[in-house]
């Protein structure tokens, strides 16, 4: 059976390991972490979500060609 001091050392080591990996404990960081896990949308997703039509996209591409 392990001695009392060994158990204590293990407990301390476990606690510090947890501290290293644990995220900053605040309500805000929890909220942001949830939001961050959302997969990024593609350009097509953004256009569909916003209701950008083919005509709008064509106009944007023409403006890019003219401006750049």
């Amino acid at each position: 059976m392990p001695s009392k001091s060994t158990n204590h050392s293990r407990h301390v080591a476990k606690k510090s390991a947890k501290k290293v990996h644990a995220p900053v404990a605040s309500r805000r960081s929890t909220t942001l972490r949830r939001i961050h896990t959302t997969p990024a949308g593609t350009a097509a997703d953004i256009r569909a979500s916003l209701g950008i039509t083919k005509d709008d996209l064509e106009a944007a591409l023409t403006a890019i060609d003219s401006a750049l």
Binding site: L32, T42, A44, A63, I64, L68
Partner: protein, 205 residues
């Protein structure tokens, strides 16, 4: 009568910002950063008013988003009450939505420490400071909604922003308008931002 709730789009970000010409650089910075993060910038401009009223349109749009950005940097006269009012709506949505359907809001300001005087009720919330510039807006949005380890890097978004600013000028010229804050011009500006972000490999096509 309350607006009918819709299923929130996780990637949609409602923009509650001043629609004036001097704000356009900051607005383009916000749009550049959001598109680079694969998020959809939404604002009341995009919905044509079919008699339902502006506030109803705003509520419906906010309910369809998961996140909102509120810029409280316009503090001079004449008084602009729309932004703090809509922040109040967002605060209520955050307070009363279920944890599974969490709502997040981000506050933007141009000047540090001013919010504690202009809106002391929000004293516990630190605004992201954009210093009234597009580059500042990019960093404020990336810091608030981005994941530093996953990118994009602010320098990459700066390049997109510079290109988008040129394209936005061209779009205004073609649309014969002095401002970006018209429905069609706004939609085409976001369309241009997605095309430029795809070209820069910041997001997938």
């Amino acid at each position: 009568m309350a607006a009918r709730p819709s299923i929130p789009d996780n990637k949609a970000v409602f923009l509650n910002v001043p629609f004036d010409r001097s704000y356009e650089p900051v607005f383009l910075g916000i749009v550049s950063a959001l598109v680079s993060l694969g998020r959809t910038p939404r604002c009341v401009l995009e919905i044509a008013d079919r008699g339902q009223g502006r506030l109803r349109r705003i509520l419906k749009l906010m309910q369809s988003c998961r996140v909102s950005i509120h810029d409280l940097s316009r503090v001079g006269g004449p008084a602009r009450f729309n932004m703090p009012f809509e922040l109040g709506l967002a605060y209520a949505m955050r307070a009363y939505r279920s944890p599974q359907n969490l709502y997040l809001f981000v506050i933007l300001e141009s000047t540090p420490h001013r919010l504690s005087r202009t809106l002391s009720d929000m004293a516990a919330h630190d605004p992201a400071i954009h210093e009234g510039t597009g580059r500042g807006a990019i960093r404020a949005v990336l810091n608030s909604l981005g994941t530093p380890s996953a990118g994009p890097f602010p320098e990459d978004v700066d390049t997109l922003y510079r290109r988008l600013s040129k394209v936005a000028r061209e779009l205004k010229r073609r649309d014969r308008t002095q401002t970006l804050f018209k429905r069609g011009t706004f939609l085409r500006t976001v369309a241009a931002a997605t095309a430029l972000a795809t070209q820069a490999s910041l997001i997938a096509p």
